[in-house]
């Protein structure tokens, strides 16, 4: 489903940085993949390439058989609608309620109002926040905010969820809640790509682990450890 062929990414500047060096990997539909590695290993660069925020310097990326390199500028929004994002810093809109934050993602791609009204409470119930519809993000704990972010990511039925350090700001217990939620979503058939630093989570969950160091793919194991 996601196929990366010999991809390199170089940032030209005062110092030229080779963020990714000749990466090739395949991620199949329904997989749960951890992307691990120290800071600066190229994990974020890889996610930026996947959401077509940037183009690779070399190589090819195919998503569902379509080349991201040949995606036209105006096709990018439609491509992104098929991806759900979860961020370390949640990126919720502070002056809007939980309901509005999730509804926002549906409105942005122009779902009619009545569908938004049906779907948003259902999704919030799935992440266990059905009684927080009218709360504001600052009234929620970190774990709850992350669950709102996950609800927003899945509300448009993406085929893949890209989670960038989803537990980076959370304590161990809440981290587990969030990972379990991602696992539940994965069980329903959505591919999950989770970038993380969390050694314990990776080791205990026994999923595929892709490790990057200095822009190189150093390890790709099924049921791997950090």
């Amino acid at each position: 489903m996601i196929q990366i062929f010999n991809v390199s990414k170089t940032y030209e500047g005062e110092v030229t940085i080779e963020a990714l060096k000749n990466i090739s990997l395949h991620i199949k539909r329904g997989e749960f993949v951890f992307l691990v590695g120290p800071s600066g290993a190229g994990k974020s660069t890889l996610t930026r390439l996947l959401i077509r925020e940037e183009l690779p310097t070399q190589g090819q990326i195919l998503v569902n058989g379509k080349s991201l390199l040949r995606l036209r500028e105006r096709e990018i929004p439609y491509y992104r609608r098929k991806i759900g994002f979860v961020f370390q810093d949640f990126r919720l809109l502070m002056e809007r309620t939980i309901y509005e934050n999730v509804a926002f993602a549906m409105e942005a791609i122009e779902f009619p109002k009545h569908e938004v009204k049906e779907k948003v409470p259902a999704v919030l119930e799935m992440v266990g926040l059905q009684d927080k519809l009218n709360s504001y993000p600052h009234q929620l704990s970190g774990g709850q905010q992350q669950r709102v972010c996950i609800a927003r990511a899945i509300v448009n039925n993406p085929f893949v969820i890209i989670a960038d350090e989803p537990t980076g700001n959370l304590d161990p217990d809440t981290s587990w809640e969030v990972m379990n939620l991602l696992q539940a979503i994965n069980k329903r058939g959505t591919t999950v790509i989770a970038v993380t630093h969390d050694r314990e989570i990776v080791n205990r969950m026994q999923k595929r682990v892709i490790a990057l160091v200095n822009g190189r793919l150093v390890r790709d194991e099924e049921r791997g450890v950090y």
Partner: protein, 290 residues
């Protein structure tokens, strides 16, 4: 579209002060613009009125008999562009002079019973621009001793009207630019304060136009509201002005043709919407490039 309207109003409510400032600037700009416009229209109107009242006086040689003098009328009427030809005999001329000096002094006595005035024709032109040409042709008629018309006045009046028109256009353009930049700044602040929101919108796959619409609407609403305020005050002001001029300065020909004035209002409204849209376009072009 429904979301766009909601977001535009939400954003204006959130940035009340800035929205108010932009509306006020648009209103003031358009008010000045409207005043300048009405001034130009009025000066043009004044010029037209004055031009239409310009006359050419053709004095007839004294050795002509009255009959010959009266027969000259046809020659004057044959000149192209002449609207009106009137004969003024020397007796009538003297009477007019006497009236102008009043009853106290008897001009006839002072002149020792002689009438030094010649017979003359008074011509009116259809268009003011024709006056110099007609005067030239009149001069070419052998029985005419000499020709008087507001030499230079016509030219000066036309030059003044053109000058006012130019100054008016320049002022209007300058003020319009100022308003555009103010709206652009205000929209830029809105865009900046909503950059997180815009970033998230892009990530979830909102198209650029979906993101732009609320800002466009906001700019246009600001422009339109400003225009309505400007038109409202301009209308009150002008109505008052017309009333006062009619009461006290009756001789000043002020423009009262409502259809022309309503056209000015309509244009102001369009300009307001345009200023708003242009202002938003400027900031959106710069800030939505990702």
């Amino acid at each position: 579209m429904e979301y766009a309207f909601r977001d535009a109003f939400r954003s204006m409510k959130r940035n009340k002060v800035m929205t108010f400032a932009s509306v006020a600037t648009v209103a003031i700009s358009l008010l000045i613009l409207g005043c300048a416009w009405l001034l130009v229209l009025n000066s043009q109107h004044l010029a037209n009125v004055m031009e239409s009242e310009l006359e050419i006086n053709a004095y007839i040689k004294k050795d002509l008999t009255r009959e010959d003098a009266l027969n000259l009328r046809r020659k004057f009427e044959a000149i192209g562009g002449v609207a009106q030809v009137a004969f003024v005999s020397k007796e009538e001329g003297l009477k007019g002079l006497q009236e102008r000096f009043g009853e106290d002094a008897s001009i006839v006595d002072a002149l020792g019973g002689n009438n030094p005035l010649p017979d003359m024709y008074r011509l009116k032109a259809k268009i003011a621009e024709d006056v110099p040409r007609i005067a030239g042709e009149v001069e070419g008629i052998p029985e005419v001793e000499n020709v008087r018309y507001g030499q230079g006045v016509v030219e000066k009046l036309l030059a003044l009207t053109n000058w006012m028109r130019t100054v008016g256009v320049i002022a209007v353009v300058a003020i319009g630019l100022a308003a555009i930049f103010l709206i652009a700044t205000s929209i830029r602040i809105t865009v900046f304060s909503r950059r997180r929101e815009i970033g998230i919108m892009k990530l979830v796959g909102a198209t650029n136009w979906y993101i732009r619409w609320p800002f466009f609407l906001e700019g246009m609403i600001v422009g339109l509201v400003g225009a309505v305020l400007a038109i409202f005050s301009l209308h009150l002001f002008y109505a008052k002005l017309v009333q006062n001029v009619v009461l006290t300065l009756n001789f000043l020909p002020i423009l009262r043709d409502t259809s022309i004035i309503f056209n000015v209002y309509k244009s102001l409204l369009l300009i307001g919407a345009f200023l708003g849209a242009a202002g938003s376009a400027i900031s959106l072009r710069r800030f939505l490039k990702v």
